[in-house]
Structures are given as structure tokens and as C-alpha cells.
Amino acid sequence: MMDGRATLRVPAPSRAPAARPRHASTDLAALGEPYLWTLGGCLALGIAMVAGLLLLVFWNGALTFWPQPIAVLELAGGERLAGVETRGGTYRPRPDVVAALPPTAQAVVAQNRGLVERTLYRTGNFDLYGDDFRWVSSFQIAGIQYPTDMLFVERLEWGVFIGRLRSFQVGAGEPVQAAVSDAAFQAAHAVARARAQSIRAIERHEIGRINNTLERERLGARRVAFDHGEGSGEHQAALARLASLTSRLEQDYAGLAREVERLKAMDAQDRARFADVGGREKEMPLSQIVRLYAANDLNAVQQVAIYLARWWEFVSDEPREANTEGGVWPAIFGTLAMTLLMVVVVAPFGVVTALYLREYAKQGRLVSIVRISVNNLAGVPSIVYGVFGLGFFAYFLGGSIDQLFFPERLPSPTFGTGGLLWSSLTLALLTVPVVIVATEEAIAAVPRSMREGSLACGASKWQTIRHIVLPRAMPGIMTGIILAMARGASEVAPLMLVGVVKLAPELPIDGTFPYLHPERSFMHLGFHIYDVGFQSRNSEAGKPMVFVTTLLLITLITAMTATAIVVRARLSRKFAGSQF
């Protein structure tokens, strides 16, 4: 070989091994067929479970707002009951209950082996009955009707009212008999609603602004006292300014308060009188009625209109009635703002860390330990991050910020308590391993030939990373960010410690200076689900809201992820193209 004259060595012919019988066909194990079936089965099972869950949520969530008919039941004892059928089931009544039934009903129960069907009706009228759901057994029902004049009334307080409209009155006028479809009634209702909204606007915005100004000036004066000393000339001047401002603002306030009083007096006069199915009357201000409709007298267009109006209310309004009614706009906003802020923090932090680990750090024991630790961080229970976030971000960092910049507000904390910013940072910490791992892999997957090509052109390492490696790795980095986003948006446990609250109608962005309020606590859809489903006084009323909110949360996360995926696809297309 070495000298080029080497002869080819032909191996000596050896004896052939004993002939083995040939198989007629390749056996299944060799083809891997059973493993293939197992894999396919596992995949199918997984997909079925995910699809089933999504279908359940979608079905329940999508149907919640559809206007349902109101049934009026004639019960065996002569009692009448009106309600919306919610769900059904069977149960086994106590023997003495069965014994007290008429013989025909007993026979039916016996035929069903002691089981009785029952239906849950949403009766509403919590203020009259002390309950708004009622189980009705099939043997109790003597007859069902769907009268067209039964109204489904959504109110600001006390939940739903189900009954008939008797009369309404406007101003000092006499009560007028009316049906719900009368133009006069509808106009009066619209006027009352508009008036209630203007009362709310005055209370929330104008009086709120006066309060804000007063508070800011008071804190300003306190600040002067801190800076120049209590009783110093500057402090005296500030106090004098505050006093004059206070008297002026108090005049404004008194004017607004009078206006509100006047409107409220008018509001109290516009009333409607309803009667439940048994004839018990209930009077309420027209402004308390959010929406009312004759549930058994709707055509398809009206049904769709009500359905869409409820959805709109749900996504654009604030919650009421301990979150079981109204909308979830603050929670949508809080979830979005928190997730986006988290991405803004986690993306650069994770990418820079991964770049250093992969490109600059000397690969050795230390880097391996760092890498293992990062991977382990992904496995720490999220509540631990919550505790850490509360202790480090809120109490330590936030407390220090308060000491330094907001001493006049102490002892009430500004940044020194849970808030949007601290929640985002906590979740950023929670999701940063995902971004680091994905980025490292994406960087490692950039072909060596690309880097060498760039370096051979006289580019420095930084230029190579900046112009070649990072753009090439961008789709992979985006994948990491998408995963981090999905994880972060669906996390609830740590947020309960660092800033999510049950009710926070004030958004972290609003019209009062300085417009961004990252220190404010906020609402979150995930926490909202927990709160409505498990912390509300009326779990039956909260149940549909759980499904709707879950549907909304899934939709929101899907939308955010889809946006990121579109961005990633656009990036990959830029780098796609065959080598040959």
C-alpha cells in the first residue's frame, strides 16, 4: 500500500455456514409492526384526550350565552315554578318520600329500580327565594308550559329575575301597564341606563380625578416635609398651597356630588314592577336592569343578537356580583399585559444567557454545572417561584424602591407589594430555562460552514454572531419564546402570591398620570377561573362562567401563540431554500 506496489490480498475461500431455512416472509417483530401500533395508539389516545377536553370546554363555553327558554312548571302540590332548565340526572329518593307518592308514580319508580329523574332549574329571584337553583323530580311535575310573556331579566344586583312585567313609571308619573316590547318602556329603560352610566362616569372619572389630585398634592407636601424638614419654610408654603387647592377642589367635589345626588334621585323614580310566576311582586329601578327579554318569544335574529351582546359584555365589561356575572375585560387585559411584559423581559435575558453559554464561555465543568442547573430550574414547582418573587422582587426590591423613591407614601406600599411588574418578572424567571435551552439548541444547529464562511471573510466573532448566527437561529429562538409564552400565560399559582387579585377594576394602563402603573395588582383569567369556580358563593351560577372563561383563556393563548408562529414562519421562509 505504502509503496504503491502492494498486491490486493484476496481472502482465502472459507467454508460456507450451514444452510438455514428461509422464512416465507419477514416476521412482524423485525418490521417493528407491534411497536408501530403501540406508538400510533399512544398518539391517538393523547390526541383524543386533548380533543375531548377542548370539545368539552368549547361546547359548554360556546352555549352559555345562548338565550334558553323559560319553563313554567305546574308542580304536584299546586305550586308553580318558572326557570331555565340547566341540567338533569337521576337520584335515589328516600323510601319515605317514595312511600308518600301516589301509586302510579310509585310504580314508575319501582320500574326504574328506585331511581328518579330530576332536573335542575335556574329559577333566579334570589332576593325572593333565597336561592336561585332548584332540583325538580320528574314525579313532581304535573305540567310544563312556555308562556310567551315570561321575562328573563338580568340585573346589576341579586342576579337574574324571572317573571312578568306588571307596570313601570317614569318620574313622578303614574304607573303604566306595559309589555316589554312597548316602545315607551324600552325608551324609558334606555334613558335610565344612560343616566346610570353618566352617574358612574362622574363617580369614577371626575370625582376620581379630584381624589387623585388631592392625594398627589398631599403626598407632594409630605415629600417636601421629608426633603426640607417638618415645619420648614418650604413645608409651610406647600401646606398653604395644599390648603387652597383642597378648598377649591372640595368646591368642585361638592358641585359634582350635588349633580350625582340629583341624577340618583331621578334614577330612583324610574321604576318597574315585576311579578314572579306565583304573583309575588318586586319593584326595581329601571337602571338596575342590564337586559331583559321574553325568552319564549324570540325569533332567531333576536336570539343571535342577545348571544352576541352577551359575549360583547363578557369581553368588554368589568365583573360584578363577585365575578359570577358581567365581563372579564380587566382579566383579559391583565393576562395580556402580564404575558407580553414577561416576553419582553425573558426573550433578551434568555437569548443573551444562551449566547454566552454557547459561544463565549469556555466549555468545561463550570458551564456544564450551569447548564444542568438551568435545566433543573425548569422543574422547580411554580409556587416556589411565587414565594421567591414575593420575597425578592416585591418585598426586597419593591421595598427598597419605596424607601428610595416613594417615602412619602409609606407605610402603604407602592412597589413593595405584589403587582404586574413583579408578576411578569417572576414568570420570566420561571420560563427563562425554556428560552435558554431552545436558544442554545438553535445556535448549536447553525451549520459550522456558515460561521467559518463568515470568519473567513474577516468578520469578528461578534459580527458573525450578529449577522449570521442569530438570524439563522431566530426561528428556533422563537420556538423557545412561544413555549415560554404558553407556559407563562397559563401559570396561576405563583401569581396568587405576587400580584393577582380577585377584583382590580383599575387597569395597569389608564388616563391618570403617569399612565403606566406596573406596580398595580391586576386580574388574570387563570385566577379568575379558580375564583369563580371555587371561591364564589354560588358555584352553580359560576359554573358556566368557568367554561366561558376557560374558553377565552385558551383562545387568548392560542391567539398569542399563533401570532408568534406566524412571525417564526416568516423568519424561516427567509432562510429557507435548497442548498443545491
Partner: protein, 274 residues
Amino acid sequence: MTVVTSHRSPEVAGTAYHPAAGGHGIAVEIDKFNLWYGKSQALFDVSLAIEKRMVTALIGPSGCGKSTLLRALNRMNDLIDGVRITGKIAIGPQDILDRGTDVIQLRKRMGMVFQKPNPFPMSIFDNVVYPLRVDGVRDRRLLVETCEQALKSAALWEEAKDRLYESALSLSGGQQQRLCIARAIAGNPEILLMDEPCSALDPMATSRIEELIDGLKADYTIVIVTHNMQQAARVSNNTAFMYLGRLIEYGDTDGIFTNPTEAQTLAYVTGRFG
């Protein structure tokens, strides 16, 4: 064509082969260059002088160290962990293996073409002017002129002039390799290093690149690593045959292919091993 009369073998290592006068002088002088990957030595006492504005081919079987030697010239081996070197590689008065050498500036004096075309995922224009951009050139007019010249030199201008701002990845493999050559010469280097530039191309594309190399040697010193002995015979002026990390024989191409001194060279060029 330089007439080379002396051939050298490992037994007389230490006296570098110098092509006879009459050429354009020496571009790179490699002196007793050794290289280790970790504990295993890849190059043994290689001494070689590369002539200016000539094509020097490095041939030899796989693993003989010819690519390693080529990559030593622009210190691409620095990227590999555990590489250790001794010896001297001089370009003019400068020893490029010296610690104080500014590697980035050194690489700007060299253009390199790789085995597989490696256009960057950007437009054709951006690819060609990349060496200028990383050198800090922002003058648009200069960039456009350089791009045109480089593409013309790389015989790609006619095909690419209407699609300069399209992705370079939309070019065919042969076009991509010519683009890489354009990119390598856009920075106006002194030396062009080619690491098996045709091994991933079909015969048509190969012959175009070979024509190109023939034209480029008027302006550049070219060092080309090739597996293809016909190619070495066609394009190069001088040929170095390497085997197992040693320089076996170096001389003018005609001599190496028709009348080699060493038996191993004869065996290799006649296709009896390798």
C-alpha cells in the same frame, strides 16, 4: 510556466523547496510546520513555499492533512479546541502564527472558498459585499461597484445581475459556489484559499469553476486542495503531494504528474492507491 528541477522528500526535510526564479516571487513560506489535534499529530515538519500569482494544488488521499494545512494559512484551525502548532508560516516579513497577529486582519488578506457552497441566508448582493460590510464600508456606491466587479470576476454577473436582491439560496449549487468565490475576492485579498471547491458540483459546474480559477490566477495567489488529480493537473502550476501528514513531494505540476521522484507519488498519481 516555471521550470522546477528539484524535488524534495521527507528524508531531506528542513530545506524548503523554492521554485526557481522567474516567477513572481514567494507569497507564503511555510517552515517546519507541525500541528497536533490534541495528542495526535496531523502535520509533520511541513515546509513549502507558495508562489505569488500561481495556482498551487495540494493533493493526497483523505486525511493526509492537506485541508489542515490550507486552514493553517488563515488560522481557521484556531476555531478547533485542542489544536497545537509549532513552526513558522511567513507572509512577507510577518510570521502569521505569532501570538500578536491580528487574525481578523489576516483573514481579510485571504479569501476562502469551502468544499460545500455556503452562501449566507441573505441576498446575493449582501453576500458579495459581506467582507466589505464587516470591514466597516458603508459607502453604497463603492459596495455596488465592488459587487459588480466581484461577480464579473466570478463569472456570475450575467446570471445574477437581475436578481441581486433575491436570496442567495435561490441559486443553483454551481452558481452558489461561484457566488462564494465572488464573496471571497470581494474583499480584495492577496491569497485565495480553495478547499475542494468542486467536490460538491456536477462536471459542468466544475469546468466553469476551473475556467474561473485559470482566469483568477493573473491577480491572485491561489492555493487549492483537491481530491481530483485531473483537476490538479488541469488548473495548477505547482503541486504538493501529501501523505499521512507529511509533504512527500512538491514541484511543478507537469513534473509531479509525469515524472515524480517518489514512488508514493507515482503510485498516487497513477491511481494505484488513495
